[in-house]
């Protein structure tokens, strides 16, 4: 089931992960449910899918896509990471829809995960977004731009705060920042709960919760020099002033007040002595 985040422009789709001790990226003992997210950006008849969700949610993703873009419709794709929670529906999507372009970074070509000869044809549709790495390999200035349609672009950048090769996306049109595996802490108590935290829902998020989710994957944060990470994050949010934070998993954070509050939690989580 998909949810519209911005009329005619942005939709979140994907399934729900039951937290039962078999998921590595949540704090130990976490219970409840976590949304797994893919995002469809639309401009007229052009579409860009940001991440593809989990293989276990393949059917939901395919059915949602069929409704949104039509059976066999054309779609470009952008992977924020080449990790399996982002890429594992590439093959089923390619089997049912027309992947027009695929934007990824790093040395791994996700099309190489394909068994068959279609890999050959698809390989040529890959666009490497980090071909020009900076010397130090640090945060890449917003160099890559993915044109969704004339006049609508997704700006792509490699964040300073990352674990593996990762890209954030910025869609000025909807004020949405795609943050991949950070800001993933919004949970649901029931599988049919709200997958969006906005001003209409009671938000009981705590800094401990945010830190717990961040450290579950970024286990090195508590023993690291975090000042530069905080500065980078603060500057990013000051410059963009996002309206929506759209992570690969966890609830979508929507509305400037909500975004500011959760930025505050994240900055505190990046100051481990405060947690």
């Amino acid at each position: 089931m998909f949810t519209t985040l911005y009329e005619d422009k942005l939709v979140v789709l994907g399934g729900i992960i039951p937290l039962d001790g078999r998921v590595s990226w949540v704090p130990e003992g976490a219970t409840g449910f976590q949304p797994s997210n893919a995002y469809l950006l639309t401009e007229g008849s052009s579409r860009l899918l940001v991440d593809s969700g989990l293989a276990v949610h393949s059917q939901e993703i395919l059915e949602d896509l069929a409704q949104l873009i039509g059976e066999g419709g054309g779609v470009s794709m952008f992977f924020t990471r080449s990790e399996m929670d982002c890429v594992s529906n590439l093959e089923p999507i390619a089997g049912r829809f027309d992947i027009e372009r695929l934007f990824t970074g790093g040395v791994i070509n996700p099309f190489d995960a394909f068994d068959d000869l279609s890999r050959l044809a698809l390989r040529g549709r890959r666009h490497q977004i980090d071909a020009q790495r900076t010397e130090e390999g640090d945060s890449v200035a917003r160099a890559a731009e993915i044109e969704i349609a004339p006049g609508r672009v997704l700006e792509v950048e490699s964040p300073l705060l990352r674990l593996l090769p990762t890209f954030w996306g910025w869609d000025q049109e909807t004020g949405t920042l795609f943050t991949s595996d950070t800001f993933t802490h919004g949970m649901m108590e029931r599988p049919d709960g709200a997958r969006i935290i906005d001003s209409t829902v009671e938000d009981a998020t705590t800094v401990e919760q945010v830190a717990g989710h961040l450290y579950a994957k970024y286990e090195w944060i508590p023993r690291s020099t975090c000042g530069p990470l905080r500065e980078w994050l603060q500057e990013k949010f000051d410059a963009l002033d996002p309206e929506i934070i759209a992570p690969s998993r966890g609830c979508v954070l929507k509305g400037r007040d909500v975004v500011r509050r959760h930025l505050g939690f994240m900055l505190d989580a990046l100051t481990p002595q405060l947690v």
């Binding site: 590595s24 990226w25 276990v56 790093g106 040395v107 190489d112 995960a113 970024y218 690291s224 530069p228």
Partner: protein
């Protein structure tokens, strides 16, 4: 037609310890004047009645990995596979292995795998450090990963062979003039151990690789603590040699460890001294 299979050196497979075969696919990088390789190794540990594959290789290498296994197993089924962590070069062939060997047990920290590969859920068998499987005159033991990127990473140890399998730990490149994220070598060096290499590993190369592949090393200034623990492990277990996924097989760990440690220290970006 383009060769779909990644280069696999004719120098490999190669027996590197009692019952341990180094299998490798090398990812070719085409530079202007030459082709260089990045190791993406798998290791087969064989006992009298059972065998275990450490890491699965990249999906595009599957045809050649499958053929190599046929040759080495001589009609027997592969009993176990131990994926060190769920990145494509390490686990991407899990579905193909389960298809080829339906009884195979996937062992290790198998959190998340049911979400990425729902079709192999019945084959998943969680293990924790200290757990062993008996291969017949040869054992395989799961060990805590002391150097890792993803939290659900594990190392392995084959006591009778004295080989420690370290996934992304101890990966490096040894060609000073090259800069890419993956550890690289030239054709002809694919099957050489570190003791056989003509050009030794340089600290700068270890630093570059560590800072990219183990990105956290830029922020965490604790290389001495990390490598002291590794040396303790090496002493406690009686490790003779180290088998990383990306990089040559390490036959002289006492000589290589200080270089990797120094490179790891150099990857740290900030001036502040540790208290």
């Amino acid at each position: 037609m383009e060769e779909l299979v990644e280069t696999m050196s004719s120098d490999l497979p190669r027996t590197v310890a009692k019952g341990v075969t180094w299998m490798s696919s090398c990812l070719p990088f085409h530079l202007e004047d030459r082709v260089i390789h990045g190791h993406n190794s798998t290791y087969l540990v064989q006992g009298d009645h059972s065998s275990i594959l450490v890491d699965t290789g990249n999906p595009s290498s599957w045809p050649i990995i499958s053929r190599t296994l046929d040759g080495l197993l001589d009609g027997k089924e592969l009993t176990y596979v131990f994926p060190t962590h769920p990145e494509l070069p390490h686990t991407g062939n899990l579905p193909r292995l389960v298809e080829k060997y339906p009884q195979i047990q996937v062992i290790g920290d198998v959190r998340d795998y049911h979400l990425f590969y729902p079709q192999i859920e019945p084959n998943l068998h969680a293990k924790v450090p200290g757990d062993k499987v008996d291969l017949g005159g040869q054992e395989f033991m799961v060990v805590e990963a002391l150097i890792r990127d993803l939290p659900n990473t594990q190392w392995g140890f084959a006591p009778q062979a004295g080989v420690l399998f370290t996934a992304d730990g101890f990966c490096y490149m040894h060609r000073p003039e090259l800069d890419d994220e993956d550890p690289v070598h030239l054709p002809g060096e694919c099957g050489l151990t570190t003791g056989e290499l003509q050009v030794p590993i340089a600290v700068e190369n270890a630093a570059f690789f560590t800072g990219s592949a183990l990105y956290w090393a830029r922020f965490a200034n604790d290389a001495d603590a990390v490598y002291d623990r590794v040396l303790h492990l090496i002493d406690d277990l009686g490790v003779q040699s180290v088998a990383p996924t990306h990089g040559n097989f390490i036959s002289n760990i006492r000589e290589v460890e200080p270089i990797i440690r120094a490179g790891h220290k150099r990857a740290y970006r900030y001036e502040t001294a540790q208290p």
